[in-house]
Symmetry: C2
Subunit: 343 residues, 2 copies
Amino acid sequence: MKTKKRITIYDIAEKLNITASSVSRALNNSNHVNEATKNLVLKTAAELNYKRNVLASNLRMGKTKTIGVVVPRINQNFFSNVIAGIEDATYQKGYNLIICQSNESRDKEIKCINTLMNQHVDCIVISVSVESDDHTHLKNVIDQGVQLIQFDRVAEELETLKVINDNEQASMEAVTHLIEQGYKRIALLEGPQNLNIFRQRKIGYLNALEKFNLPVINELVIENAWTKELGAAATRKLLSLPEPPDAIFASTSDFSALGVLDVAHAMHIKVPSELGILGYANEPFTEITTPSITTIDQFSVNMGKTIANLYFEEMENHEVAVTPKVISIKPQLIIRASTRKKK
Amino acid sequence: MKTKKRITIYDIAEKLNITASSVSRALNNSNHVNEATKNLVLKTAAELNYKRNVLASNLRMGKTKTIGVVVPRINQNFFSNVIAGIEDATYQKGYNLIICQSNESRDKEIKCINTLMNQHVDCIVISVSVESDDHTHLKNVIDQGVQLIQFDRVAEELETLKVINDNEQASMEAVTHLIEQGYKRIALLEGPQNLNIFRQRKIGYLNALEKFNLPVINELVIENAWTKELGAAATRKLLSLPEPPDAIFASTSDFSALGVLDVAHAMHIKVPSELGILGYANEPFTEITTPSITTIDQFSVNMGKTIANLYFEEMENHEVAVTPKVISIKPQLIIRASTRKKK
DNA sequence: TTTGGAATGGCAATCGATTGCCTGAATTTA
DNA sequence: TAAATTCAGGCAATCGATTGCCATTCCAAA
């Protein structure tokens, strides 16, 4: 059995004794066709089970109703949630999603962008990889007239639409919470400082200390501790100091906080009484560790939806070239057992 | 500053005083052009920063080097891992991925399939939603000559390429492990039986019992307990039986197992000594609960890669229409504290 | 009655890349 | 030397949908 030939507008045209132009106009609800003709075309199209050839349409129109998404890793809870949110919102508008992962590599990120550009996506949504300091490839996107939306990890100097968390504020609140619980020597596990999010979280930390007149102790600030293993290593180092910290803010991720917790367990240090632990991202597991981990929720699915809606708004106001919009979502501190020192 | 016009093969042709045909052939490495011309074209293309217009090419060729993926939920660990695996493997071959989520709804699944078909994807990879009993929409895909690959949750009666886990075997091993640990009254939390995976896991459970001459106790088999909440509810019910189980196999998911654990904690029942708990899927959190949960690893990322490679193989052997290949991946039992009864 | 416009439809070009077929030239074989 | 190949390039159609421009009809306003 041969694959049936697809129905085209020409088939409809032939059947109705009109031209493809009219069919096209009818299908696109143009007011350049007679109402009667329009209905006839619509009816016939339905009968013949006509499906517009998207490829042809894309070529002609130069747009694809497709959004490209580039994230460091698809299978990281935060990102997959954002993607789920984007999918949810874009699907309803008949948009498609092409997904790429940069694997935290600059090279791959560039290749992803190129692929997406070649696919003529209408918009690129990206959270930059840790490696990418130079943002020429993103500038190119803008120069080629493709809408660029950055989220979470953003290149701040680029004037694009951005959807971010208020990391500084969240971090500040988190540390404030620790101080209010009575912790006095609060260590910070910080992430790669070339990423805005980690810089901001550090600022929040510093601001909180300053607000409460606590000194910044350099040896309590550990660089690049953004995996479980690195978090664990940092913790071992911190806890073997002459004056160890009484709380650790793993500003990089909950995984890092998990590393902290593991080491604390191994060293028989009581959490939260002897050591407070605070993570970032509200990974599902933070709720079920013993003790459960205080963390910060980023409303990731919502973030995805916000991104999608931002794009659609921008499409509509298309003429009004306002200054690039930045939407900041306020994350929420989720207080759990790991920092509940006061009774 | 206007957006520069894109370079086309006609621009190259004009510059070199040849026709677009030759340029096209040169770019496609056809042996229908002179070697010298070919090099000249390649050189010029590079100079002018020519990029093939994929849309035009797609239209002409009728294929898109794009694979559509339909999963119930993108932000579910197993699926996002599979997707990550697929992305990894397809990316290298220059293929793109369009991702849809069915949200476990049959309607949405059908719509996803339609969208993907309209986008002329070369292949559709799907793990069916729990709702979809009728598979007409999948048959259509095949009839239209689009490669269909099912994974994990598959419609067994459809003769398509399949990449699955050996759920029966895994389940059997799991229950065997429980029995060997000395558990005697093993309860089963089963998933919707219209999904093959849950049917198979149940069979594995039954086989293991039979092998060891243990009776099947109907009141220990609980239907549809495939979320944390349902798992918890089932557990409450089970533990309040006159003769409660001494082990619970949450064959549906680790989340369900987590519900079991929660209830056990709440009821001060000791795990694993008084109650053994076994989950499914090796979710990251199973490692860090107290006690850690014994579970089954599905090699999800690998599964994704396998899917991609299966497609590419099939492409190459394209002529040889063998009986549809089924690749079964043997999952691995990960034994952890929650079932370690024997010392 | 004439003119102006609105409504409706057709024509043909266009979006770029691809490819079957044809032609003329160069090379090989008989 | 003549016939047969091979090589390399050009021509034009094709993949379908879209749209600017032109043509016709019909009705209303002058």
